[in-house]
C-alpha cells in the first residue's frame, strides 16, 4: 500500500479540570490513506471527537495534547508533525481548512447567519489561495454545483437559515472542499439529518472521495454508517482504541468483547419484529471515575477476575491489519468467546 497521508502515533490528549484529569484520548494510533475512509466509532465520551480536534489542533482548554505525534505528509512529500506546530500559528492555520478540511455535525451553528453562504465560501477560498474576488465567486458557484445544490448561481447569495438541513450540510461540505484538501474530517456529519437526507450526504461524500482520492476520517456513533462507508475502523471506548481493523473483520470477526457486545446490541431493520435486543450491562462510567485496568472490565461479559482490573491490556495483532487490546488474547488459559 502507498504511504499513509496522515499517521497518528500514540496520541494522548488529556483535560486538566479541577476535579481531576480526564484522559479523553489515551494512546491512540492509526494510519490514514488517500482514497480510503477510516471510521472512528464509539459511544459518548470515547474520545472520537477529541481525536479529530487534536488532529486539527483545536482542542479547547483545559484540554491539551500531552504526547504523541500527528504526522501529515505534505503535497511535496515532506512530513510535518502537527503536534509540534503552534496551534494558532500561520502554518497550522494554513493546514486547518487548507490541507485538512472539516465537516461538523451541526450545520446550523457552524455556518454564520450574518453572511451569505457565497461570502463565507469566498472568504474560505481566498484565505487559502490568491484568487480575485470575482474568480473566487465563480469558484464558489462551482463548489455549490459540485456538492449538488440546485440553482447554485442563485443560491450563492442565500443565507444559511434559508436552506434546509440537508442543503446546509452540503454547503458545509463545499466549505470544507474550498481549499482542495487532501484529508477530510467529518465528525458526525449526518447525525442531525433525516434518514433520506443522510443517504444523500453519505452518497455525496463517497462520490467526492472517489473523484478526488480524498482521505476521509468519518467519526460517528452509528455502526450502520460505519458499515456503509468505512474501509478501516477504529473502535474506541473511554479514550482507548479497543479494536481496529478492516471493516469486514470488525463486523464479521470482531474480537474485543466491547465490539462484540456493541454489534449485538444495535437495533436492525433486519431483525424479527419485537425481537429483544442483547444488552451491555451497566452504563458508560463518568470520565472522572474511569475503572482501573481495562476500562471496559466492569461491563465485560468475558471479564477475567484478577487480570482485567489489574492492568491495562497491551495491543495484540490478531489478523491481517487487525489489532485488539484485550487480556483474553494474552492470558494463558483464558476461555475465548465463541
Amino acid at each position: 500500500m502507498a504511504e499513509p497521508i496522515l499517521q497518528v502515533r500514540n496520541l494522548h490528549t488529556h483535560f486538566f479540570a479541577d476535579e481531576g484529569v480526564v484522559r479523553a484520548v489515551d494512546d491512540t494510533s492509526f494510519d490514514l490513506f488517500a482514497g480510503r475512509t477510516l471510521g472512528i466509532v464509539g459511544e459518548s465520551g470515547c474520545g472520537k471527537s477529541v481525536t479529530a480536534r487534536s488532529i486539527l489542533r483545536i482542542v479547547e482548554r483545559p484540554g491539551r495534547i500531552v504526547s504523541g505525534e500527528i504526522l501529515l505528509r505534505r503535497a511535496d512529500g515532506s512530513v510535518t508533525d502537527l503536534v509540534k506546530l503552534p496551534s494558532d500559528g500561520l502554518e497550522m492555520r494554513a493546514i486547518r481548512g487548507g490541507e485538512i478540511g472539516l465537516v461538523f455535525q451541526e450545520p446550523m451553528s457552524s455556518l454564520s447567519s450574518f453572511h451569505s453562504i457565497g461570502n463565507q465560501l469566498i472568504e474560505a477560498i481566498r484565505l487559502h489561495s490568491s484568487l480575485s474576488k470575482r474568480a473566487a465567486r465563480t469558484r464558489a458557484i462551482e463548489l455549490l454545483a459540485l456538492v449538488g445544490i440546485p440553482r447554485p448561481s442563485q443560491r450563492v447569495d442565500a443565507y444559511s437559515f434559508e436552506l434546509s438541513g440537508g442543503l446546509r450540510q452540503r454547503v458545509m461540505i463545499a466549505l470544507a472542499l474550498a481549499a482542495e484538501p487532501r484529508v477530510l474530517i467529518a465528525d458526525e456529519p449526518t447525525t442531525a439529518l433525516d434518514v433520506t437526507t443522510q443517504a444523500q450526504i453519505l452518497e455525496l461524500i463517497r462520490r467526492l472521495q472517489q473523484e478526488r482520492a480524498l482521505a476521509v476520517i468519518l467519526i460517528t456513533h452509528d455502526m450502520g454508517v460505519i458499515a456503509e462507508m468505512a474501509d478501516d475502523v477504529v473502535v474506541m471506548y473511554l479514550g482507548h482504541e479497543v479494536e481496529k481493523g478492516p471493516v469486514d473483520a470488525i463486523f464479521h470477526a470482531p474480537r474485543h468483547p466491547y465490539t462484540r457486545s456493541l454489534l449485538r446490541s444495535i437495533p436492525s431493520v433486519l431483525a424479527a419484529p419485537r425481537a429483544r435486543l442483547a444488552t451491555i450491562s451497566g452504563s458508560i462510567p463518568h470520565p472522572f471515575a474511569r475503572p482501573p485496568g481495562c476500562p471496559f472490565h466492569p461491563r465485560c461479559p468475558d471479564h477475567i477476575r484478577g487480570v482485567c482490573e489489574q492492568s491495562f491490556p497491551a495491543e495484540i495483532v490478531i489478523g491481517e491489519d487487525h489489532v485488539t487490546a484485550c487480556h483474553l488474547y494474552t492470558t494463558v488459559g483464558a476461555r475465548l468467546p465463541a
Binding site: A227, I266, P267, V269
Partner: protein
Amino acid sequence: MTQVLEVRSLRKHFPLRRGLLGRVAAHVKAVDDVSFTIARGETLSLVGESGCGKTTTSRCILRAITPTSGEIRFRGESGQEIDVAGLSRKQLRPLRRQMQMIFQDPFSSLNPRMTIAEIIGEPLLVNGMTDTATRNQRVAELLELVQLPHAYLNRFPHAFSGGQRQRIGIARALALHPSLIVADEPVSALDVSVQAQIVNLMLDLQDRLGLAYLFVAHDLSVVKHVSHRVAVMYVGRIVEIAPTASLFDTPRHPYTEALLSAVPVPDPRRRAQRIVLEGDVADPTHPPTGCHFHPRCRYAEDRCRIETPELVEVAPNHAVRCLRVRELFLSGVAAQA
C-alpha cells in the same frame, strides 16, 4: 382485543400570520386526515421525517394542543369511550392520568431540584395520595418495576446517567396506572449500549402491564424492535399503515420503500444500491398538488400530480395511499443485498 384509542380524521392546521395586523395568510396542514387505532398491549409506531406531523399527532392525542377537527376516542378504565378532542381542560383532568408521556431528553425532562422520590411521587401527590408512607411504598414499587435500586430514592437527577434518567421518566409515567403511553423518541438521545436496555424494558413493561404504546420515532431500526404495527407519515398524512413484518418486508408505498432503503444496515457485505431520494421533504405550507410525494417519487405518473390518492386497504390491516398501488412491486429490507 380491546381498543384503547381510536383516532378518526384528525386534523391540525396552524395559521401562518403575516404583517402588522396578523392576518392569517395561510395554514400549515401539520396533520391532515389521520386515522388509526391502538389496542391494549399493542404498540403502534408513527414514523416519518422531520415535519411529517408525527409529533403534532401525538401532542393532539395528549391534548397538549387542541386539534382543528376529528375525533380522538379514548377508552379509559371505566370502559366508556370518550372523545377527547372536544373536551375542556376541566373535563380532561380525570383522563390525563390514564394517558402518560415518556419524553425524548432525559436531561431536561426531570426537575434538577427534586429527589427521585419526589419526581416519581409528584403525580401520586397531585392525584390525592397524600399519605407519605403509602406514597413512598408505591414509589418503591415503581423503582423496582423499572429496575432501579431503592438506594436511589433520595438522590437528585444529576447523579444519574441518561439511561437511568430515562428509567426514572418511565417510572413517573407509570405511577398512575395509565392505559396509554405516548413515547416521543424515547431512546434517540441515548447511547447504543443503553438504548437496548430501555427498548427491552419498554417491551417487558408492556407485556406485564398490558400498556398500549404510541411510539413516535424516526429510527426505523428501533421501530422494528418495538412495534406491532407501523404508520408512515409524509407531510401530514399517513401514506402507509401495516403490521410491522408486512411494512418492512413488503412495503406498498414508494415513500416507505425509499425510507427503508435509506437505513444503513450494520453489515459491510450488504452495502446496497440505495434508492436516494432527490430533494427535500415537501414544505407543509405549500404541499405539492395531488399526491404530496409525487415530486420525489420515481414511479410518479402524470395523474399523481393531479389526483389525490385515498388511503386504501390492500391486505388485511394494510392500507396504502398511492394511486399506483395495484401496479407496483416494491422491495422491502430483505431484498436489499
